[in-house]
Assembly symmetry: C2
């Protein structure tokens, strides 16, 4: 399993549009075969700061996600909403190791 | 719901001990009444970098966690394993908003 944690800073005036766009991406992403989880979080202290928590079964599923129409559409849509380039950090899972808990 | 994302840099020579300590903390934390999730991740690119993904029902549950014997024991145990002070960032949940998905 691979979890990519993506940190995104959004311009204040585009926060609502960003949320609409990421919810559309999420709704389609969780239907992908290799997707295990796709959480969208907003920092309590800084409403401009969002975190995506994207869990996939393996590297192939991560790669497939990046070729889906909903991901490509999202990437293009949010370009102008972001304050700076987003940063995604891939992780291996130490726990829970049981896939049924994902 | 509140998700705290904690970033921890661990000294290379203490990675195995750190993993043992965090798995003990996790095993007890997931039994807490207000806990929804407690994931332990390790960066693929930097094995010294760990992320905890701690989801709780509300602020009271987060506060209660920080007073549990297993949290206090963990905090003391890992002090010498860390390269720098750990950083925890609390988030609100945008999605999934359904508690049953946590």
């Amino acid at each position: 399993m691979i979890v990519t944690i993506v940190e995104i800073y959004v311009k204040k005036e585009h926060i609502n549009e960003f949320i609409t766009a990421i919810l559309d991406n999420r709704q389609n992403s969780v239907k992908e075969q290799g997707n295990l989880r796709f959480d969208v979080l907003q920092s309590l202290d800084d409403p401009s700061r969002f975190t995506l928590y994207e869990a996939y079964e393996n590297k192939e599923a991560v790669k497939a996600h990046k070729n889906t129409p909903h991901y490509l559409k999202w990437r293009e849509n949010v370009e102008e909403f972001m304050l700076s380039p987003r940063k995604g950090i891939p992780h291996k899972v130490i726990a829970p190791s049981d896939k049924s808990l994902w």
